[in-house]
Symmetry: C2
Subunit: 371 residues, 2 copies
């Protein structure tokens, strides 16, 4: 059971507060991804310093290594990884589809081979609930099936219907506790009727929150927004809404406008390791030779340790030399960039000026242009 | 010009204080290696938190990338890398021999090809002094020639004699400033007469400190100690003594007993990235399966963030998963281990009980045994 409270709204945009057993999350919120028990290249206290209040862990990765049972023996994921804030875990469904090999899917669940050592594993709604319980996730995601995009409508429909049956099995298997909750996942691809059928099925079951799945799969921002336009307002107003795997800064601002409360994406952390920096002027590639003699920080408006203490020239040097410190500093900067964005969004909603914030941001940052 | 003061001695062991333009260094001191403008996988503030007061930078690496002139344009190495404490740079001589290809050496200096892009470079005593000045090193090392071990005595002798001529040229080219200094390097291999000739030549020139080069090249601890037995006491008592590239914990304790004040080695940082942990009970390999379910810290007596917040089981998981955080935490631990060792050494000398500290340590830790 999770407490969620809406504090302000401006049209569809919502400013809320989600209480968990490990602390409160101000929404709209962005969750850095800690795939395998670590937000890559970051100490957890640094993650907290960026302003992040909740992180995401991946069931698929953790069940394979170190295993959910082992994490439980260490007192759960919070203790294992030294993150005492809230944790959301995904159900494993999406990554079974994208990372494992030799999958077979039937009504019971998915059988697959580990991408690490080829060992055979089975994920069912019941096992996914058990794993997430062992991990001690504050927010457990229902186990769902993900079809590739694009797929024919009848395939999307059949998959959505199975996901809804799995959502019921997830709910039945979920062990509810104070400060812990279960989110259902809306499927139905880019089809309004299927999305609405999915929402009807999920709200009939009843969840602590509702995720929108099957987006950010290559459909493009315009289509994604059009799906959100009819999906988000159809969700219960008193529960948090989570857009899975999204996204770029402009995706987030546009989704908040459409009523979404929570986000996760590997983009800031992965970009931090590959040398892409998010700045208030757009995205820059620190590998570019133009930064070699640049004495200015990545982003003069940023208060992160990377921008306060280092030049673009030094960051360029670290990436050219393949130094770990480059990944450490740039990941920190990018996650801080995302958290500052979320803070700006929250303040704008509180001050009833989110519409103009949105329009200014989209004008300035649309296409997340490269510098 | 550097101020060095001996505060206590116990037999040959010395407890001193070295003043530089960027701060004071308590000796005996261990310098973490920051090869290319970063102590790998560490924020500089974390390096400082380990207790390290001075770090080492590598002239060879920095001259190739980002280049000394570029570092100077950023205000020197301290500003470039955000380390405001003292920095010692090596002369480039040793690494030209070990890392570059197609070397040709004559009386003037060394011509070599960059290991990065094959470009041709020349290092002479004068150019090495210029580079280290551009880097703004608090301690500049004289440019010397390094022969491989073992080499015939006449080869070692000729090389030592050339290094002494290069030491004079280094002294002549060095631009002296308050809080900056130049160290000469004693060569002469494993030959007492050559070592003493080298010391005579260097002390005739006069340096701010004296390094012992050409050790830790595969000769073994017993031979190294025997060279130190006759080399260290022959050095001026009022100047710091630096044993280059050393070493294992027991090497350091034994060298302090013989009168050495300063050390550097990649061992704690490199081991931190490969999964070797220094502990009060010996060296352990965190990859070993025996750590998988171990809920205890690496070293219960250690106060570093790795030991305070994480289990061996978690560290094992991070290394198995190839996570950057594993390198970050284990490097921190290892450097903290070395700095605690240096603090223990300094306290033992101050309290006039270094002899028994040495004997206890050697009994417990000799051979730096694997666990």
């Amino acid at each position: 059971m999770l407490k969620f409270q809406i504090k302000n709204t401006q049209k569809n945009a919502r400013r809320g507060e989600l209480e968990t057993a490990h602390g409160t999350v101000q929404t709209p919120a962005f969750m850095p991804v800690g795939t395998v028990g670590t937000v890559k290249a970051m100490l957890p206290e640094s993650v907290k310093q960026t302003g992040a209040e909740i992180i995401l862990g991946n069931t698929y990765h953790l069940m394979l290594r170190p295993t959910a049972e082992r994490v439980a023996s260490f007192g759960g994921l919070h203790k294992f990884m030294n993150w005492n804030g809230p944790i959301l875990t995904d159900s494993g469904g999406f990554q079974v589809m994208s990372l494992s090999s030799l999958r077979s899917i039937n009504e019971d669940g998915v059988t697959f081979q580990s991408h690490i050592n080829g060992a055979k594993h089975v994920l069912t709604p019941e096992r996914s609930m058990e794993i997430q319980h062992l991990l001690d996730a504050n927010i457990t995601m229902a186990f769902d099936e993900c079809v590739k995009f694009p797929s024919p409508k009848d395939v999307v429909k059949k998959s959505m219907e199975r996901s809804m049956r799995w959502a019921q099995r997830s709910k039945d298997a979920f062990i509810d506790r104070e400060g812990y909750g279960l989110f259902g996942i809306v499927q139905g691809g880019m089809h309004e009727d299927l999305r609405k059928e999915s929402i009807k099925a999920l709200t009939d079951i009843g969840f602590d929150g509702y995720a929108i799945g099957g987006l950010a799969v290559g459909e493009g921002q315009e289509i994604m927004f059009s799906v959100l336009d009819y999906t988000a307002p159809a969700l219960p107003t008193d529960k948090p809404r989570y857009l899975m795997g999204v996204g770029r800064p402009s995706d987030i601002v546009g989704a908040v406008k459409r009523g979404v409360d929570m986000f996760d994406c590997v983009m800031p952390s992965r970009s931090g390791r590959t040398g892409q920096a998010f700045t208030s002027h757009g995205v820059l590639n620190i590998h570019n030779a133009c930064h070699r003699d640049d004495h200015s920080p990545l982003d003069a408006s940023c208060d992160c340790p990377c921008c306060k203490n280092y030049t673009r020239g030094y960051m360029h040097h670290l990436f050219k030399a393949g130094e770990i410190l480059g990944s450490m500093l740039l990941t920190w900067h990018n996650i801080r960039f995302y958290q500052r964005l979320m803070q700006d969004i929250r303040t704008a909603i509180e001050e009833n000026r989110f519409d103009s914030f949105h329009d200014d941001f989209m004008n300035k940052y649309q296409h997340d242009k490269k510098m």
